[in-house]
């Protein structure tokens, strides 16, 4: 299959007060159509930086980033982002938040009714139709993140980027949102790149887990293929030997090969 995103020899340095800080070095990665890829690593390893590079929110210091055959020159709706802190606009209702994105992407070629239908469908997909007219501060953190996911999916992006999408949620809410996400990904066949620091989440959701070495000058350490059939069920996986194997491999990478020196 064709790679939708190609990251070639990418390096990223930041100019800080203490001088140049090399965040990423020699990163090479190809993401195929319909694939779910997790980026995992210790905090400060540059996984969010890599995601921001793919999103186009920041531009690489060296190397090339290509999406759909074109160089990534900035952010765009074909690479939707689900932010860690949901980033819903607090002065718009949930419906309006999603509609803003839908209108931007499809407004030029579709009528008002169609846009509304799309927005409603997106809310329905994450089971949030009941809160369409609520303001973001009236709903819980997990619900806000659902709306954030609905907004991203409603744009029908070529690739969906998630920056620790469930990092700010409690464990139970996180599990239910992961299940939700599995369902949505199943329905849409979306290509997803997700930053996470949760080993179980990485194995449960991804086709490949990209493990990053510790920064500074972080790069990709290993890539693990998760060969579990989809759709996956968290209860069955709990006793699946391959699941345990994958989990073990990641843990080994994180806590043996890349043991973080006392932070």
């Amino acid at each position: 299959m064709n790679a939708i995103v190609k990251v070639e020899n990418v390096g990223m340095t930041f100019d800080t007060k203490k001088g140049r800080f090399v965040a990423l070095q020699n990163v090479n990665l190809q993401i195929r159509q319909g694939e779910v890829v997790s980026l995992i690593g210790h905090s400060g390893c540059g996984k969010s930086t890599l995601l921001n590079l793919i999103a186009g929110l920041t531009l690489p210091s060296s190397g090339a980033m290509i999406c759909n055959g074109r160089e990534i020159a900035g952010p765009g709706p074909e690479r939707a982002v689900v932010f860690q802190n949901h980033s819903l606009l607090p002065w718009l209702t949930c419906f309006e938040n999603v509609h803003l994105a839908v209108e931007r992407v499809f407004g030029a070629k579709e009528g008002k009714d169609k846009l509304k239908a799309r927005t409603n469908a997106a809310l329905e997909m994450v089971h949030m139709s009941h809160a369409a007219q609520k303001m973001p501060h009236e709903i819980s953190g997990g619900m806000k993140q659902r709306i954030g996911i609905a907004r991203a999916f409603a744009m029908e992006p070529k690739i969906l980027l998630m920056d620790e999408p469930f990092g700010a949620l409690d464990a139970l809410t996180r599990a239910s949102l992961q299940d939700e996400l599995i369902g949505v990904m199943e329905k849409t066949g979306a290509t997803v790149v997700m930053v996470t620091h949760d080993v179980d989440e990485a194995v449960l959701l991804s086709d490949r887990v990209v493990m990053m070495t510790n920064g500074p000058a972080a790069t990709i350490g290993e890539i693990l293929e998760v060969k579990l059939a989809k759709p996956r069920d968290r209860l069955q996986l709990a006793h699946d030997p391959h699941f345990a194997e994958c989990r073990g491999a990641i843990l080994e990478f994180l806590y043996q090969k890349q043991m973080k020196k006392a932070a």
């Binding site: 999103a55 929110l57 900035g74 952010p75 765009g76 709706p77 690479r79 939707a80 982002v81 932010f83 802190n85 980033s87 606009l89 607090p90 002065w91 718009l92 803003l100 994105a101 931007r104 992407v105 303001m135 973001p136 501060h137 009236e138 744009m155």
Partner: protein, 312 residues
């Protein structure tokens, strides 16, 4: 005030329901029955109405009593001072004068003798015009300064020098330019209102959360949508703070400006009554100015509350 009622309500209702649910829990435990957790939930609403009336009363008293005492104290002090002094009118005399004044607030006997209603209204009109023009100029300027670092560094030193200047110092310039007293006092209002509006708007623009701007970038929104859907709503609370600060100073300054320029207006009226040696009218004016200022501020606070979107 509202926090006082809230906390007092909480403090006293709390133990009550707790005690009630405890006994209920005991019974439940004894019976070894069904979900215990449901018991306090079911019981709490029943306990509330019983305590609430007395609660409301005492909360109301606690909220109202201290301010009343404060007023009583100041009026008592005032009466005491008035008793010792020959030309200082007491509360009773002032109240009398106020009743006659406010029984006919809108009479007109020539330009220098008009009802207190006209005086207040013409002061408010000056404030409204000066303030409105300041908003029209200051808010866009705040946006420009906030958005473009170059403009910020260009205008910041000028604003820093001009801002601490008493707006009354600008009055002669206004008189020179407009050749009339009325626009000159409006001009001072403009000058004093514009700084908080510029500075607060600029600060609001600089503090638009990066997250929202990232959303705008990912969605690739048009400049128009960025302004209407992201910049403006997120700057609005800051802008309203600026507006509130300026209306406060504007109302302070108008009294002084009118004292200097004359004409109709509450400030002029104070000065005129001083010339007439009607001290009780001056005291009334002080109260009136205070109450109008308070009302203006409260109105803006109400508006501001409407536009503060519960933090995230």
């Amino acid at each position: 005030m509202s926090t006082a009622t809230l906390t007092s309500g909480l403090v006293t209702v709390g133990p009550d329901t707790e005690a009630a649910s405890e006994t209920r829990d005991d019974i439940m435990a004894a019976k070894q029955e069904a979900p215990v957790a449901a018991a306090p939930l079911a019981h709490a609403p029943a306990a509330e109405p019983r305590t609430s009336f007395g609660e409301h009363c005492s909360a109301f008293l606690r909220a109202v009593l201290p301010p009343l005492l404060g007023f009583a104290f100041i009026i008592g002090l005032w009466a005491l001072v008035a008793m010792k002094s020959s030309d200082f009118p007491g509360p009773a005399k002032t109240l009398d004068a106020a009743i006659t004044l406010f029984s006919d607030p809108f009479y007109q006997n020539g330009p220098n003798d008009q009802g207190i209603g006209w005086n207040i209204l013409s002061s408010l009109k000056r404030v409204a015009i000066g303030f409105g023009v300041a908003a029209l100029v200051g808010i866009p300027m705040g946006f420009i300064i906030g958005r473009f670092a170059f403009m910020n560094s260009m205008l910041e030193p000028i604003i820093s020098i001009l801002r601490p200047v008493s707006p009354l110092a600008w009055l002669p310039i206004g008189l020179m330019v407009f050749k009339a007293a009325d626009p000159a006092s409006t001009w001072t209002i403009f000058i004093c209102s514009i700084w908080p509006m510029i500075l607060n708007t600029a600060q609001g623009v600089q503090r638009v959360p990066q997250d929202y701007l990232n959303v705008a970038r990912v969605l690739n929104l048009s400049e128009f949508k960025i302004i209407t859907k992201i910049l403006f709503p997120s700057v609005l609370p800051y802008m309203l703070t600026g507006i509130r600060l300026s209306i406060g100073t504007a109302w302070l300054v108008i009294v002084a400006a009118e004292m200097l320029t004359g004409g109709v207006g509450i400030g002029f009226w104070v000065w005129d009554e001083w010339n007439n040696l009607k001290v009780e009218h001056i005291i009334i004016a002080i109260f009136v100015i205070g109450i109008v200022g308070l009302l203006l501020e409260q109105c803006l606070l109400l508006i501001a509350r409407r536009f503060s979107y519960g933090n995230n």
